[in-house]
Assembly symmetry: C2
Homo-oligomer: 218 residues x 2
DNA sequence: ATAAATTTTTAGATTAGTCTAAAAATTTAT
DNA sequence: ATAAATTTTTAGACTAATCTAAAAATTTAT
């Protein structure tokens, strides 16, 4: 039996290792889990004991095949629940992450299969993140950040890198959502801010906003 | 902050005390929670500390106003989730209880309000149990057990006392569900078994079945 | 190549929830 | 009314997850 806390650590390791390829330091893990390094070390030892990670003292941890499967399943549940909350219960995209953090731990394969079908087998969550299918396969879409955009080209918004409610509410206030058309007008050399045209309106976004907004050529 | 375990104990106390009116012994509580009396005693002390129950040594515990509010809210969530699982995800009524045991602990008032609206403000769950509204008020329906039925009268099934999957599957096998018409033909004096007519078919049910099936005059 | 700074691990405590075994209180039976 | 049986509480121990403080290993700077 796997505990809720173990699932959360495994998910954090997955994200920090960029889809399970790099070793994750206990310090980075502690930071991500808002806990102390000593706690992360203890947990990593336990996860190694249970064969969810390979762990070498002072080198960090990396998910095993079985750990990776668990991580992907938790992520699948998280994102499906987010779709449910937005599409069916009409929550706004900035409200669902914390709720999905709770719902992702509900244990029932049948529930998640039925939820998936009820939602029409969605491939992406409300933030544009891909939803792994029941075999754990993702459909990645070809995207860049607004910071990497070409001047005078036209794009549409396809996702966010930061899905904190602060950032999402900033986008709400500026009427930017998934699918919104963005024309790139100018890039300021001094601070890397970018002038764009959205919904017939010109505006300037900071580099930090541009780094967190994913776009795709139309 | 209330823990998941505390919520489960509070809910058990609520049910054992018949809607919060009688004192509950630590032994009965331990039995209901599938744990030991010593654990129940410890928990009851903690709940008393937090003012969710009044507890007198050797006498048992009874919910306070605030404990009762928590119990009713957990029950509301449990039953709304059961409706969701049956009505929207097409689970069978014998599969949903265990899942609802997990879902009832998701913390978000807004979620439960929206779920309630999404389901059309249902008043009863898939087992015929009343769903408290957001103020904690139940709409009790007037029901008796099949064991209390009059001979030669006609009733409809409106609920179950035992919602274990074993009992519900017995009902499934005999095509008895909420709303099913039941004609009472004969009561056997020897073992209190009852001969009924359901779906044009005569059958005999044991007293233990009759005690667990709620019916209402048509 | 040492020394200093940083990262990581270990040691020892703490809290929630559980258990077993034993003591205390209450209830039931004679 | 006393003894026996039952119920309930207490004492002490265990596991999971966390923390602080200190020790050990690694990395960076001189
Ligand atoms: Mn999320
Ligand atoms: Mn998301
Ligand atoms: Mn139930
Ligand atoms: Mn029910």
């Amino acid at each position: 039996m796997i505990t809720l806390t173990e699932e959360n650590y495994i998910k954090a390791i997955y994200h920090l290792s960029k889809h399970g390829k790099e070793m994750v330091s206990t310090n980075a893990l502690a930071e991500a889990m808002s806990t102390k390094a000593s706690s992360a070390t203890d947990m990593v030892k336990k996860l190694a004991e249970k064969n969810y990670v390979d762990y070498k003292k002072y080198q960090g941890a990396i998910l095993t095949e079985s750990g990776s499967t668990i991580a992907i399943n938790v992520i699948r549940k998280h994102r499906l629940w987010e779709v449910f909350l937005v599409d069916k219960l009409h929550f706004s995209w900035d409200e669902v992450h914390e709720l999905a953090e709770q719902l992702e731990h509900i244990k029932s394969q049948k529930l998640i299969d039925k939820l998936d079908a009820f939602l029409g087998h969605p491939t992406h969550d409300p933030h544009g993140d891909p939803i792994p299918d029941k075999h754990g396969d993702f459909t990645f879409i070809d995207k860049i950040t607004l910071a990497q955009a070409q001047i005078n080209a036209t794009y549409k918004c396809v996702g966010v890198n930061d899905s904190s409610s602060e950032f999402l509410q900033y986008l709400n206030n500026n009427k930017i959502e998934l699918g919104t058309k963005i024309e790139v007008l100018h890039k300021e050399a001094f601070d890397s801010s970018i002038k764009i045209k959205v919904n017939e309106l010109e505006m300037v976004v900071s580099n930090s906003v541009a780094q967190n907004l994913y776009i795709q050529k139309t």
